[in-house]
Symmetry: C2
Subunit: 467 residues, 2 copies
């Protein structure tokens, strides 16, 4: 576009008025809310440290898988960042986390009839056993789903390598739904393949985009399916295409895989919790959290450095604006979301042990993209309350309030009856870089990150002041 | 996030039902619409040529400023692409366009007291005169707005270079609103500076992001302000920071500027119009358009190759699904949006001359980002009609229906009383690369581009079938 300006009516005031009529809130209260939310946005968009905090986490610490030195460094960093943001208190919640290490070399290739070596970009899946230095080599059997695998059975699969050539369903509007369908092949594909005697398992990367990035992510060995642990890797989308196309013309392709990953003894780690203590109800809590651990291959920028710095920033925003919350507000940097949820469970156990009442728990773990709104728990009445504030959210484009929401880290709290909220940004690009070496700080847009942080700040402000 | 799935109720059906109750549409009609829109999305997300068309336009033709060989090539390309998409007919609408050329060298620097040469990334503004090979050199006077300029007056400005150090207001939620405020310094800054005897004009680039890209864009010489035409450039955000900071400690900085741009005689060019002829009302038109020209420095990927290929794809989508429209549907690739609007005016004149009745005109010129919805003209009743379909749009996240909308290319049609629509994607990142060398194909996300195209397809299908 050139210099044109499209004119819009300012619908904000109109909606505030409509909202007031419908929900019979005193107009002064809604006006006060409207003014405070605007101030919060001003703070977030012009003064916040969200972006520079994320830069430090990504570039100074980098990838920080549970149990690693980087994860330990991230705990120290988060504690400092929370104090710097103005937390009244910051404390650590201990938890034992798995310590899976990738090891040095990862390789996957096959040799064509014409003696050409075809190398595929690959990555070991988290929690997988490695092949060791010698690697494994066997005929590769491609399947499109578990049904095909079962049909082929032991006679075809035994001693071979299974290749799950499963694509994202691109017709889904939410990329998360496509991921949700495909990810079972990453999660239990190895155990299913091992059940029929396979010696390794390969998945097409979980991705929305046809590129050459290999996407890791956690897998698990389900001993109810098979007691044998076989190595599991992902190959890039383009690598999967290459293999699939080769198999069309040549059935007996042998795939070589080498990975050197292994699981070491569990390590003591921590959630980091920063708190502004409530003036009226200090023992009642409203929390926002993201996870501090990430995969080792990238910088954990969108997954989930974004959520961590967005959560931390609520402390700074409330301090900057002189907002003294009624309830205690916590920013939580959860440990071990990616491969175990030890942090999420430790937080819930701590809450139970300390008889902490949680008014609401929000998780931000869908990337630092432009916010759309929130998914809100319906069981405890919070959804209805949040829906009231839709008119206030309209001008900020965060008024998509959906039923049901939460996140992995707060799922244990949810089981205790805590009303949970999932922050919902636009996720069209999320799975392009999810769990890859490309999940780096340069993929972050400062405004989008801050708009997400502001959305969370606005919602938590409302929950605090209206409960 | 790891492997969690957030569950949402499928609100689509619910909203269809609510919509039906409220708007008293027969449920069969809404059901049929819902089914067709889903089919359109399936087509766009899995089969469309939108992305590959844009790749060809950006990488084979590249930047295509009006009057250039590339713009002429783009006309040929668009005609072929429209036929390939399945247009019943494609025709060209002639228009005379300006032929401004950048020339070879662009340079801007100053020398510090300590004899250090500080080079600033710069770019001549479209329609500007050049300095010629010798360049210009003069003391630089920084102002924050026109009021300051007027206050300084001729005694300070005369013989010097004016530097408009104007930032985007980052607190604005819509980046377009920040642009709308700042762009007047690009548009008429030179004439205002010339009024007080300045010999050149410099603006801080129109951008949301603090980087080193120089953003061009059109300017104009307003002879009612000054009859003198002085060279006008933009410097990058970081360049502007550098200059501003230097001026804090050293008042008499002399800036050297060299540009070699010039305006050649007007050139004959064309809009390209591809049409599927309506079955019931062939002489009534519903159009979607983007602009085929772009600035010369990038590839015109988001601005506005996206809009062109999204518009072309409606032809292919209707053909693929066997939709026979009642009205004639047109994809319009407008020429000369960036520096003259000759194409938009030619289209409107053609429509008038041929007594064409336009039911609606949509413009897509805000980038190939995730769609949010539409801004719709309120004067002619179209807004009310589109608002009815909000329930149908909900599941696709395109239900933000705002009052007022349109675009530069269709503004002449709007003056004739045609109901106009502006396609509204998320534009947080738009001005990061707007009018820069970085507006390239690699900045396009395939799903986002296709979701935008699908949104336009869905809306135009509804307008066609309900009018």
């Amino acid at each position: 576009m050139a210099t044109k300006k499209t004119q819009y009516l300012n619908l904000n005031l109109l909606f505030v008025l409509i909202g007031t009529l419908f929900y019979a809130k005193p107009i002064n209260s809604q006006n006060q809310d409207s003014v405070t939310i605007r101030k919060l946005y001003d703070y977030y968009l012009t003064q916040s440290k969200t972006y520079s905090n994320l830069e430090a986490l990504c570039l100074k610490i980098g990838g920080r898988i549970s149990g690693s030195q980087q994860a330990a460094n991230a705990v120290v960093w988060a504690k400092r960042a929370m104090y710097a943001a103005g937390a009244d208190t910051v404390f650590l919640q201990p938890c034992m986390v798995p310590h899976w290490v990738r090891g040095a070399k990862e390789e996957c290739y096959f040799v064509t009839k014409s003696n050409q070596m075809m190398s595929l970009n690959c990555i070991a899946l988290g929690s997988s056993v490695g092949t060791g230095e010698k690697g494994v080599k066997a005929k590769v059997i491609e399947v499109n789903n578990f049904e095909e695998l079962e049909k082929l059975g032991e006679k075809t699969i035994k001693g071979n390598i299974v290749f799950y050539n499963v694509f994202f369903d691109q017709s889904k509007i939410r990329t998360g739904n496509a991921y949700g369908e495909a990810v079972k092949y990453r999660g239990k594909g190895a155990s299913m393949a091992a059940k029929f005697g396979a010696i390794a398992s390969v998945v097409r990367s979980m991705t929305s985009v046809a590129d050459d990035e290999a996407h890791t992510g956690n897998m698990g060995y389900d001993t109810s399916i098979s007691k044998t642990k076989i190595p599991a890797i992902a190959i890039s989308y383009k690598g999967a295409d290459l293999l699939h196309n080769a198999l069309l013309s040549e059935k007996n392709i042998e795939l070589f895989i080498q990975t050197n990953c292994q699981t070491l003894p569990d390590v003591l780690s921590y959630n980091v919790v920063g708190q502004i203590t409530g003036k009226q109800k200090p023992n009642e809590y409203i929390i926002t959290g993201g996870h501090l651990d990430s995969w080792d291959n990238g910088q954990g920028a969108h997954d989930d450095g974004s959520g961590v710095v967005q959560s931390i920033e609520i402390l700074a925003a409330f301090k900057a604006l002189g907002i003294q919350p009624k309830h205690s507000i916590r920013a939580v940097a959860f440990m071990n979301e990616e491969n175990g949820l030890a942090g999420g469970m430790a937080y819930a156990q701590w809450a139970k042990d300390h008889k902490e009442k949680h008014i609401a728990a929000l998780e931000t773990d869908a990337g630092g993209y432009t916010p759309r709104g929130f998914g809100v728990d319906t069981a405890m009445g919070l959804y209805k309350q949040v829906l009231q504030w839709k008119p206030l959210f309209q001008a900020y484009f965060i008024d998509r309030i959906e039923q049901g929401g939460g996140g992995a880290d707060i799922s244990a709290l949810e089981k205790q009856g805590v009303p949970c909220i999932g922050f919902e940004p636009d996720t069209q690009r999320y799975f392009d870089i999810h769990h890859t070496a490309a999940d780096t700080f340069d993929k972050i847009n400062k405004r989008e990150l801050n708009l997400g942080a502001a959305a969370i700040g606005a919602l938590l402000y409302l929950i605090d002041s209206h409960n």
